[in-house]
């Protein structure tokens, strides 16, 4: 091995000019780089939600006590969930809007369960920077469009919880849910 080195002179390597020593250099550097990159994966991934956080309980909500025009706040995945019983007037308001003019075009129909247009179930998390909008509690400010109003940076949502004004880019998120009966809904 050592004698080989002596006889080698520049440009005297393989056909394409790559010498044995260059190859060893590249291999010696790339091997630890690949190793270091592999080690980075767990170092970064440890910051993602842990198993207990991910073990999301799905919840059941009893709708029987929510009167027309009322809304409740509950907790789903450690975040607020709004369940709102829309009045006929609120449904009419939401249907009146020309969907094409909306920032995040969706109809009330698409945002509710089939035949259950009066039950508007959304996350209570403003799509701007995550505040809890007002409007689900008794007597809270529902904003210009009668739905929800986020006090943080002034986003207004309508009666289908669609974004109408302010900095938020999207409608309030509708989580996955299913009606188990007329008065019980399972979220998650």
């Amino acid at each position: 091995m050592a004698t080989l080195e002596h006889t080698e002179s520049p440009g005297h390597g393989t056909e394409d000019g790559v010498r044995r020593r260059d190859f060893i250099n590249i291999a010696a550097v790339s091997f630890p780089v690949a190793g270091a990159a592999a080690i980075l994966v767990p170092l970064i991934n440890q910051m993602n939600p842990s198993a207990d956080v991910l073990a999301l309980a799905s919840i059941e909500v009893d709708l029987s006590a929510i009167k027309e025009g009322q809304a409740i706040k509950t907790i789903f995945r450690k975040q607020p969930l709004f369940v709102r019983h829309l009045t006929a007037a609120e449904i009419a308001d939401a249907d009146k809007v020309d969907v094409t003019t909306l920032r995040d075009p969706q109809t009330l129909e698409q945002r509710t369960s089939a035949g259950k247009k009066q039950w508007l179930i959304t996350m209570g998390v403003c799509t701007h920077l995550g505040c809890v909008p007002l409007g689900a509690g008794e007597g809270e400010n529902r904003g210009e469009f009668g739905g929800y109003f986020c006090p943080c940076h002034g986003s207004s949502y309508d009666t289908a919880a669609r974004i109408r004004k302010g900095p938020a880019p999207k409608n309030l998120e509708v989580p996955k849910y299913a009606f188990k009966s007329d008065t019980v809904v399972a979220v998650g």
Binding site: I44, M47, N48, P49, S50, V53, K73, I75, R77, K78, Q79, P80, R103, G124, H128, L129, G130, C131, V132, P133, L134, C150, P151, C152, H153, G154, G166, P167, A168, P169
Partner: protein
């Protein structure tokens, strides 16, 4: 690196000689902040703020390490452990107030330090690296202060964490996974609180490391001065010790008086009362505001209210980060060869307009997101960018500077003559 006429370190004491041959730490100190470092003789009090920022960091590290001895980074008891510090720990109330007020004073002196640099053109060649490292320190301070404010786990802590990590969710596609990754969950909780504590403990020491680089870079050309002209000879400088150790010592005394006045008489004046309400994920405070030192940037964030190609939210986030990142290219935006604002009549006017603009932004950032504040923030944010990207490059080309003195000494003598005449 220093001027050739700098005093030479010459240990007299045999122990110091022995030490110098083995670990020349005293030599390093002598050359960095002792009689071996020649400094322009005409520095004014605006040159005190670097040392004051260092003192403020020292106060934060000492009080912080003590708080960490009594604090518990667990969502269930964090708030109570801070109340425990306030009520039960011996002198705990004082140490906590010293840390919270200390953070505000740290930012006050750093802002004055930064605006000193802006006015006197300290960011220009050959001190660009000093300026860039200073901005890195500033970014690290913002991160440290933000994570520290989350630790007491009050309402503003919780919602501040939610809103600030929510900034990342504006990034297309990967935004929400990044936010979840930062928080270790879907909303701020134990995982977030723990990692914020870990990083809040670490970053001040990273800051201390970058400060060493900042001073190293500074000591290569040496300090600038209010005239902005170069040192020409030994008559232009004085040794750092005892001249500037004395001046900085005096400044430190004034700083400590002001700091302790707030600490003992108005410790909550700079904080938000809502942070004395325990964190509640179901109820957003009516009006979320970060600590006062982020207000100008918060106003820029909120200034974007309608979509234009990109969503309004993304614009706000981009603008807020650019407002700081812009300062990284400042040395190349201002082409004027004259450093000091004292000799730049047009620049000087725009400098004060910028100061006023940043104060207006700060005021709007601390106010609710309503009219007229939104509109004022929009105008002020536009002006902020215009100042750096349009006004400064144009002014630096068009302006006719006043005649510069021939040397620092000449400027000093001239001023002295005027003062006594």
């Amino acid at each position: 690196m220093s001027f050739p006429w700098a005093n030479q370190y010459a240990p007299k004491n045999p122990f110091m000689k022995w030490m110098d041959e083995r670990l020349p730490l005293p030599r390093l100190v002598y050359n960095a902040v002792g009689a071996g470092y020649p400094v322009p003789r005409n520095l004014n009090y605006f040159w005190n703020f670097g040392v004051l920022a260092g003192a403020a960091l020292g106060i934060q590290i000492i009080t912080g390490i003590i708080l960490a001895m009594h604090y518990a980074a667990n969502g269930a008891i964090a708030f109570d452990s801070v109340e425990h510090i306030m009520r039960d720990v011996n002198s705990g109330w004082m140490l906590r107030y010293a840390h919270a007020t200390g953070a505000s004073f740290f930012f006050i002196v750093v802002y004055l330090h930064i605006f000193r640099g802006l006015y006197y053109g300290s960011y220009k060649a050959p001190r660009e690296m000093v300026w860039l490292l200073g901005l890195v320190i500033y970014l690290l301070m913002m991160a440290t202060g933000f994570m520290g404010y989350v630790l007491p786990w009050g309402q503003m802590s919780f919602w501040g964490a939610k809103v600030i990590t929510g900034l990342f969710s504006a990034i297309p596609v990967v935004g929400t996974p990044i936010q979840t990754w930062l928080l270790g969950g879907f909303a701020p909780d134990n995982a977030a609180l723990n990692r914020f504590f870990s990083l809040h403990y670490l970053l001040p020491f990273v800051i201390a490391g970058v400060i060493i680089l900042h001073i190293w870079a500074l000591h290569i050309p040496g300090s600038s001065n209010p005239t902005g002209i170069e040192v020409k000879g030994p008559q232009d400088t004085l040794p750092f010790h005892p001249y500037y150790t004395a001046k900085d010592g005096f400044g430190l005394g004034v700083f400590l008086i002001l700091y302790t006045l707030v600490l003992f008489y108005a410790p909550n004046a700079l904080g938000h009362p809502d942070n004395y309400i325990p964190a509640n994920p179901l109820s957003t405070p009516a009006h979320i505001v970060p600590e006062w030192y982020y207000w100008p940037f918060y106003a820029i964030l909120r200034a974007f209210t309608s979509d234009f190609i990109l969503p309004a939210k993304l614009w706000g986030v981009l603008a807020m980060f650019s407002a700081i990142l812009l300062l990284f290219i400042l040395p190349w935006l201002d082409k004027s060869p004259v450093r000091s604002g004292n000799y730049r009549p047009a620049f000087k006017k725009f400098f004060w307009l910028l100061v006023a603009d940043v104060l207006v932004l700060g005021y709007c950032g601390g106010s609710p997101a309503e009219e007229p504040y939104v509109m004022i923030s929009q105008l002020a944010a536009a002006y902020y960018f215009a100042h750096f990207l349009i006004i400064l490059p144009i002014v630096s080309r068009m302006e006719r500077p006043l005649p510069l003195p021939n040397s620092i000494t000449e400027a000093v003598l001239e001023k002295h003559g005027e003062a006594t005449a």
